[in-house]
């Protein structure tokens, strides 16, 4: 809940439509039917968000040590 509030307050929510759009278009370039496209898009969105969370945690850790 706190994370969601933080994301909303920090304008990080702007990443959500971008990730959704990128995932759907990328999935659509690899499959023809809507079912596999959505499955691929879901997997891709999960991967992208996980990657960004990892980068976020690394940067937050560094900043915690610096400040």
């Amino acid at each position: 809940m706190l994370l969601a509030a933080g994301i909303w307050g920090n304008h990080l929510w702007h990443i959500v439509p971008l990730v959704a759009s990128i995932s759907l278009v990328y999935g659509a370039t690899r499959h023809e039917l809507m079912g596999p496209i959505l499955i691929n898009a879901g997997r891709m969105a999960k991967w992208l968000l996980s990657f960004m969370v990892v980068v976020f945690v690394i940067l937050a850790t560094f900043s915690w040590f610096v400040i």
Binding site: H14, L24, H31, E32, I37
Partner: protein, 195 residues
């Protein structure tokens, strides 16, 4: 001349009629999703159109209609437009505005009530001290939304490049690792007899 493509999944082989791939690619560039609709691939056409155009226009709105502009002067080389023009016609008004401003030395057209919609920041060269630096003013007015809008519109243009390729050649062939299925065992005697 009509051409066909096949999907890579061996369990669900689909023949896709690409019609004229070159024309489809041109349509796909001009208007995201139009190439697929031309090929009668309506579902994917709608998906590309909604995703790419929504991303493009959302970015454009975030930046107040100023994030897409064409300028290649010494003071302002707008390399981002190279990515944005991938979205096709939706990014074209920037070329018209650029032509009016730089070549005809006239005022840009007012579109949707927005002064300088998709027009390059003028006058050149810039003079920040007397407030004539429009680009700096846009950054000040829109804060980080200007960069965010630029990012959205650039991503939309680049995504349409993928859509153009899909219209031209069909879905990209997935590598074995991506299919989530083990590769066929070459030592399997049944597989040998099938072939």
């Amino acid at each position: 001349m009509s051409e066909t493509a096949r999907t890579a999944d061996p369990d669900h082989v689909i023949e896709i009629d690409l019609r004229s791939p070159g024309i489809a690619a041109l349509w796909a560039w001009l208007w995201p999703g139009a190439g697929h609709i031309y090929q009668r691939r309506y579902g994917k056409g709608a998906l590309f159109m909604i995703c790419i155009l929504a991303t493009f226009f959302f970015g454009l709105i975030l930046g107040g209609g100023h994030v897409v502009y064409a300028s290649w002067t010494k003071a302002d080389r707008r390399w981002q437009y190279i990515c944005q023009v991938g979205a096709g016609v939706p990014a074209m008004p920037a070329l018209v505005q650029s032509y009016r401003v730089f070549s005809r030395k006239t005022d840009p057209i007012k579109v949707f009530g927005v002064e300088g919609f998709m027009a390059p920041p003028t006058p050149q060269p810039v003079r920040p001290e007397d407030g004539s630096d429009k680009l700096a003013k846009w950054h000040k007015d829109y804060h980080f939304y200007f960069e965010l809008g630029t990012l959205y519109t650039m991503v939309a243009g680049l995504l349409n490049i993928l859509a153009i390729y899909d219209a031209y050649a069909g879905p990209v062939v997935a590598t074995p690792e991506e299919t989530d299925k083990p590769p066929p065992d070459s030592d399997d005697p049944d597989a040998e007899s099938d072939s």
